[in-house]
């Protein structure tokens, strides 16, 4: 099926797009490719990147977590509160990360034990965790963190222009890439995404895997929450509002199919970098922040529309070649909504044919 004309898969295309974007930006704007600007961009995308990894795994198994922004903010809030209470930044960091894990655990238990839809559950916990941020902080942000801690937000690693937040990002990228593409656990995720029941019958502990993915998402929200606290040098209850949709948009733009079973880590990395670099470039050439929001929306729409149109085109060519007229099958399965998806036309073209 994937023989012939179109071998350039979605995630390869966006990697190419990223390279072109960096070259184009570097040639047209002298500030774009400087160390300072790249330092800023990498800091700016770090939370999105950290959470996009586990979100990609969740979407591959046909689950979703809308509570990530609230979990991140709650982790940041608890980090701040613990810092004020104990005066130890290490205890505070640990408390923040554990808060994230707890948020993920609750989501996971609700989804796997009660069999609830993760979309509904995490809309609920989105409100719950955000509410708890106000409980923890009131409406006054905590900003008296030690400077050695907050300096990490912008000072480069000695001898380079890279900010410290790059470290967790790179480590997470390697770990997630290996887990998804190099381990049995990773193959289980694709199997679950292709079909829960078949995976269950072939001996994969589907519910346990999903529970761990939610916990993992919580853990990454915790780490991102610490990064957020460091970069903004404060914990405030209204941080990272609407951030969950941005993460999901980046993951889907990176070639992870919302219908499940398809996706790569480097597609996600490329997508988040494209988002970061294009925002930076447009800002440098003087576009205002509103135009950037439009760009995010358009990128997301294109990322689902183009593969679908190409798929339809290929299908019609294939039908004309291989099938006599009048033997069309059943009408296409409708209702690729939020709860269930038909495997046909999963969107991004590279993976639905892989067995």
């Amino acid at each position: 099926m994937s023989r012939g004309a179109f071998r350039l898969s979605w995630d390869k295309s966006i990697l190419l797009l990223l390279i072109l974007l960096v070259l184009f930006g570097g040639m047209n704007n002298e500030y774009f490719a400087t160390g300072d600007n790249v330092n800023f961009i990498l800091g700016d995308i770090s939370e999105i990147m950290l959470i996009a990894f586990p979100m990609a795994l969740l979407i591959i198994v046909k689950e979703i977590d809308l509570s990530v922004a609230s979990s991140l903010t709650l982790a940041s809030a608890l980090c701040g509160v613990t810092w004020q209470a104990t005066g130890s930044i290490w205890v505070a960091v640990l408390a923040g990360i554990m808060t994230g894990v707890a948020c993920g655990l609750l989501n996971g238990l609700l989804v796997t034990r009660l069999g609830l839809s993760s979309l509904a559950v995490t809309i609920g916990t989105l409100a719950l965790y955000r509410g708890l941020c106000y409980v923890a902080l009131g409406d006054t942000p905590i900003a008296d963190f030690p400077t050695e801690f907050t300096d990490l937000g912008y000072t480069p690693i000695a001898g380079t222009f890279l900010p410290w937040v790059v470290v967790p990002m790179v480590v997470a990228g390697i770990v997630f890439w290996y887990v998804l593409h190099g381990t049995r656990f990773g193959r289980w995720l694709f199997a679950i995404g292709q079909g829960d029941e078949a995976a269950e019958f072939s001996g994969i502990p589907v519910l346990r895997v999903k529970l761990w993915l939610f916990i993992l998402t919580g853990l990454m929200c915790g780490i991102a929450g610490i990064g957020y606290t460091v970069r903004f040098a404060s914990s405030s209850p209204d941080g990272a509002l609407g951030f969950e949709l941005l993460v999901i948009a980046a993951v889907l733009f990176g070639g992870v199919a919302i219908a499940g079973g398809v996706g790569t880590i480097w597609g996600v990395i490329a997508a988040v970098l494209i988002w970061g670099f294009s925002q930076s470039y447009l800002q440098l050439i003087g576009w205002d922040a509103n135009a950037l929001v439009i760009v995010s929306g358009v990128l997301l729409l294109l990322s689902v529309t183009i593969p679908r149109l190409l798929g339809a085109l290929r299908e019609s060519v294939a039908q004309r070649t291989f099938r006599p007229k009048g033997t069309e099958g059943a009408p296409p399965p409708p209702g690729e909504g939020v709860a269930e998806h038909s495997p046909a036309g999963a969107g991004h073209d590279q993976g639905s044919h892989r067995g």
Binding site: Y134, A289, I294, L301, R308, P331, P334, A339, E340
Partner: protein
């Protein structure tokens, strides 16, 4: 129990409505200040916008779809009407309706075409249009703020008026939800939505034009979101670039609490309206009972999670009951 009564008791809306009544009674008993009716009035005013939007959203959730772009559409419309009024020294009702319907239908057509005819997942498409419309809105609005003195008198009149003690805003939402429930339960178009949501491939096999129904429901929801922009303006007599920000999740929450399950195939607009009122009533009750405002959102969130879990348990029970009936010897 007679047949009719037990059927009513089994309606998905009944537990939500009971919870609402118990909550209001408890609050009224514990806090005398709440008894005057002003508290109830405030709840109705606050829940009107969410209920109005939930009427259109319910159609989509019934079909296993979702539309997150409604907040951007409503915000854009409220600003456009306000801004037009500011630049032209006033605006008439038909002009405002025209803006609301045109903008709403445009967004609805984009969403509907991509979801129904290109078969793209509605969650992704409407997150995309959420950004797209919000971006256009922010671009147009910039730093402009529309205040009450730039708006014609009828805007404030509807916003603060009431009919027989019921706020106008809520009356408008109630009328829409009643009409929508009649459409959902008693017309062929409405019944088709449930068939599609229960089993999409089966619905296509029995000849329901699935794509046309999906398209129409998205366009209708877009128009409702546009009209909700007018409600937004009535409510606040104020519009700027943040109008309507973030309300999409409350709309979905109202539907889910009111018995319109994410899994599709069940629920009505009236249920969603009750869900919207319950959601507001919880916040008000907590305030009236002296709970710190910082706890209110957390408790509302916890109750939302509980409502979702409770609904699932009830649904499991009724499936078990049906299975037992099916297995029982005749």
């Amino acid at each position: 129990m007679s047949g009719g009564l037990s059927r009513v008791a089994r309606l998905r809306e009944v537990p939500v409505l009971s919870a609402l009544i118990v909550l209001l009674l408890l609050t009224a008993i514990l806090n005398p200040a709440f008894r005057g009716g002003e508290g109830l009035k405030a709840i109705l005013i606050e829940s009107a916008l969410i209920a109005f939007l939930a009427a259109g959203q319910a159609n989509l959730i019934i079909m296993r779809h979702i539309d997150l772009s409604v907040s951007s559409t409503a915000g854009l419309v409220s600003f456009l009407i306000g801004n037009t009024s500011m630049n032209n020294m006033g605006i008439s009702v038909p002009q405002s309706l025209m803006i609301a319907v045109a903008v709403g239908a445009a967004v609805g057509i984009v969403n509907g075409a991509l979801v129904a005819y290109l078969k793209l997942p509605s969650l992704v498409v409407t997150i995309g249009t959420l950004y797209l419309v919000r971006g256009i809105f922010n671009y147009l609005a910039g730093g402009v703020t529309v205040t009450a003195d730039a708006l014609p008198g009828w805007v404030a009149a509807i916003g603060s008026g009431s009919i027989l003690g019921v706020p106008d805003l809520f009356v408008i939402a109630l009328i829409l939800c009643v009409l929508m429930t009649i459409v959902q339960t008693s017309t062929r178009w409405g019944r088709d939505l449930y068939a599609i949501g229960s089993n999409p491939p089966a619905a296509a096999r029995v000849g329901i034009p699935v794509a046309h129904r999906e398209f129409a429901a998205f366009v209708l929801n877009g128009i409702i979101a546009g009209l909700a922009g007018m409600l937004l303006l009535f409510r606040f007599s104020f519009a700027d670039a943040t109008a309507g920000l973030g309300i999409e999740l409350y709309v979905v929450a109202a539907c889910v609490i009111g018995g319109v399950a994410i899994a599709g195939g069940v629920g009505t607009a009236m249920g969603a309206l009750i869900g919207a009122v319950l959601l507001q009533a919880i916040t008000f009750a907590l305030g009236a009972l002296g709970v710190s405002q910082f706890w209110q959102q957390a408790v509302a969130g916890a109750l939302l999670v509980l409502a979702i879990a409770f609904d699932r348990i009830v649904a499991l029970r009724s499936t078990q009951r049906i299975n037992r009936l099916a297995e029982a010897p005749v």
